[in-house]
Subunit: 387 residues, 2 copies
């Protein structure tokens, strides 16, 4: 197994990008990544494209081959992967495997979702495809409803408050305010979150990530040749993935995501680092409660303590652990297939020292955490500036 590095990254502006289609979003991010990596299109050996529901959002499947052609990578193996909202992270892991194994050298990993071409109700229905149709959605629960159950149980077991959950959204909007690629550039207050419309009690609209268009791209290469392309390659120290039942009803706990616990444990082992070594962390905050549960499941806080810590400012920019400096899914936006790759793009910028107003001062090792559905998939990466 070879060591793998990220040699280039690109991102489209996230948001309601009505002027652009799926192909154009991908081109916006892809051309930026290709330039950043200093490669020409004929050097690319394979592409992995993560996207959740392009069939339901824009009537288009077979997206990886489409993107390969759009980006000028002629006739290379092109593979779409899908694990609901963890599609981007999964694409990154498949790209990692293909380079680490020696099967491919230069691999482009893309994530994309074009969600705003359908009515909001159709988008919500499509997102429900991340949960178990037979056991959950067809019984009437919505996708936000699944996370509301988790939030309610977390409040019951650990005394977590709605205000503490709101502090996740406030922090992530603060970070997004400093990110030119973010969907929202508007700071919000605890009071505004608390007074926002209820989506699925206790979760409100400002506890929830938005419907977004966007794309993100990373270019991978074997570490041994990475400096030919980029002076500051970012090494992927760990790439792990785990699964669980889609349906909450089949799990032993509503306040833990077992897939995250397993993937995180393996990632720390693979990278030979521990929680205290991580300086900058992108977690999957599709809802505020998701960030809290993730921080606990990954071992950054004891179970039941992350919400209080967040409310105390222990995860804000340039605190001990800077969490979701991009603005997270909440502030930066959540084009579902793009999110996992966007997390990696943010960590690359942080580790290179290119994050400008939101730069973490001691960014040495970074981590990403990308979840599918209500926790049936979890994908984790740990990265470091190559020595």
């Amino acid at each position: 197994m070879r060591k793998v590095a990220i040699i280039g990254v690109g991102l489209s502006k996230f948001g309601e990008r009505w002027e652009l289609g799926l192909k154009e979003l991908m081109a916006e991010a892809g051309l930026m990544a290709i330039q950043d990596a200093n490669i020409s299109s004929h050097q690319v050996d394979a592409i992995y494209g993560g996207t959740m529901s392009p069939g339901r959002f824009v009537g288009q499947e077979h997206v990886a081959a489409l993107l390969a052609d759009q980006l000028g990578f002629h006739n290379i193996p092109a593979t779409r992967v899908e694990n609901a909202c963890a599609s981007g992270g999964t694409a990154l892991r498949q790209g990692f495997i293909s380079v680490a194994s020696g099967i491919h050298d230069i691999v482009v990993v893309g994530g994309v979702e074009k969600m705003t071409d359908v009515p909001l109700s159709d988008a919500t229905t499509a997102l429900g495809g991340a949960g178990d149709q037979e056991l959950e959605l067809s019984q009437g629960i919505t996708f936000p409803g699944l996370y509301a159950l988790m939030a309610r149980r977390h409040m019951h077991e650990y005394g977590t408050t709605e205000e503490q959950l709101a502090s996740v959204a406030v922090k992530n909007h603060d970070n997004a305010y400093k990110n030119p690629f973010a969907q929202f550039h508007k700071r919000i207050t605890i009071d505004e979150v608390m007074k926002s419309k209820v989506v699925a009690d206790p979760l409100k609209v400002l506890d929830s990530s938005p419907i977004s268009d966007g794309a993100a791209v990373a270019v991978l290469a074997p570490l041994e040749i990475a400096r030919k392309f980029n002076e500051v390659p970012i090494e992927i120290l760990a790439s792990t993935q785990a699964s669980d039942s889609l349906s909450l009803s089949e799990r032993s706990s509503f306040t833990e995501i077992k897939a995250t616990q397993i993937a995180a444990k393996k990632a720390f082992e693979q990278a030979k680092v521990s929680q205290k070594d991580i300086n900058v962390l992108e977690v999957h905050d599709c809802f505020t409660i998701a960030e809290i549960i993730a921080l606990e499941d990954m071992g950054f806080f004891k179970k039941g303590e992350a919400a209080k810590a967040t409310a105390n400012g222990e995860t804000v920019l340039n605190s001990k652990l800077s969490v979701n400096t991009s603005g997270g899914l909440k502030g930066c936006g959540h084009p579902v297939g793009a999110t996992g790759v966007k997390q990696a793009v943010e960590i690359v910028w942080q580790l290179r020292g290119q994050a400008k107003d939101r730069q973490v001062s001691n960014a040495n090792i970074g981590m990403t955490h990308n979840v599918g559905g209500s926790g049936a998939t979890s994908v984790i990466h740990i990265m470091k500036r190559a020595d």
Copy 2:
């Protein structure tokens, strides 16, 4: 890179399986494969699931994690891949890469599609997602229409006749008649094909593969440990994939699938065999013309000669080259995500000598060819009974 073998296979009955859902179809094939491989569920390290449009057919994405849970593989990495009708072949290739690389040992590869829960018109629309929405489908052409353009051009350039195309369907129904898993157990004649309803001139309904439900599963292991599980492991000698533009309008030829040409060339190189070494071949006959073009693109016949050869009986069971002994997509059925894995299942049975009434007498080396859309993806595998 380690050598990789298939140690177990399973198949659901293909057809209109109204009594079964997506999960049950997968269980039918999956449990058969697990038994065939003599493994217990806790030995499985990862699963790759190929499926094209479960979101549009049954409202369900995130299918790999669902299948992992359904088959009792708890918490393993579970990854859905999608390349339209080549989703199954792509899953097999990703499984191959993950075992060859040493990242995983025992890997389950599944393909599934549940297509008959929606009206036929919705199914046709969903299948259109395999082509380019912007440049093709939204302009009014149907998916069969794309292959009709190819057929018409092939007829124009090479004098191929509708009767010769029909002979593909007749042969494949003959083979399906002998396959208990096939959707159709009804022999047809050239005359019946010629008189069947026109779908997209010159292609008729009996030139076309049907709408089907079905699942197929293969279990992979490193060859070095394969005999612990199965006395007759089938080695994967080559696993290749290539892509092309989705849109026909961007290609230089309508009578060649460049992705197939490239993937086949690489596969023969990788396997260190040539066309004359292949005894049994499953090709992607979504329409009769597709089988003709594939046989030519893979170098089994010169361009323009495969239709005449097929009409002359040169590809029937136990001729020089037995093509689509399973019945192909036309006779066996085409649950799109399952097809690529089903092709591998058929080759495994042939190479083991378990194909009963449709056994190829000299089956030593077999090959599969799985296409996405109108040729934007092609995935090829070459297999051999391990020495």
